[in-house]
Point group: C2
DNA sequence: TGCGCACATGTCAGATCGGACATACATTCA
DNA sequence: TGAATGTATGTCCGATCTGACATGTGCGCA
């Protein structure tokens, strides 16, 4: 069993108690999870760099502090839509997002 | 700006550069729309490059032909979640996505 | 010790999304 | 012309997501 995969799943809020379900994950599903993790990490990094509270960020996107907490925690109840919109609300550009999800890449 | 109105406009094929000036979209809303457009275009490009029908792609992601059509049309009923999952189903990597949403970037 | 602030967690009603289906449109081919 | 194939559009309703709220945890400070 791939331990690093399990830890990555659990880190993003996925329950990995069912071995069969875990083994059934495809590369695409793993990429999707990696994407979510990259975005949520970038969000927290950017928010803290700006010295903004979860409450302040919540106000920017018309949401609540608790939901911002769930976003940053990678709660499964949070969609990629909301993750991305929150990241954009920190002033991130599409280039910033690209850099966050594929960090081995550099500016042209 | 009202979210549902924005999505309707996007679905109706408004040219983004015109929309911002005319309707006063914020930079974040612009970036979000640009992101969706970039992903849906990349999806169609990749699917056609592989010679796969909408029906075949739909089968891959456990969906229907009609929904794939809506994805590629940028229908407002389609979330960014589904857009991304469909793109990943064409075999796209996170690097491919990064390249699609920030095309001015190059490989490291 | 208690207070205030930031963040985390659980719940829920209403809003949005998604697969499925029917059907229409477009193109190709015989 | 008609059949086959691929794509587009509209609708339904069960499933998922969301903002809001309540409440809990952790930490610094006086």
């Amino acid at each position: 069993m791939d331990e690093s995969k399990r830890k990555r799943l659990e880190a993003n809020g996925w329950k990995v108690s069912d071995t069969q379900e875990f083994l059934g994950l495809t590369d695409e599903e793993m990429a999707y999870i990696d994407l979510r993790i990259a975005v949520k990490k970038a969000l927290r990094t950017r928010r803290e760099a700006q010295g903004i509270t979860q409450r302040a960020l919540a106000n920017r996107i018309g949401s609540s502090q608790s939901r911002v907490a769930k976003i940053e925690a990678g709660d499964p109840s949070v969609s990629l839509d909301l993750l991305i919109r929150a990241l954009l609300a920190t002033g991130a550009t599409l280039a910033d997002i690209a850099d966050a999800i594929a960090p081995e890449r550099v500016q042209a």
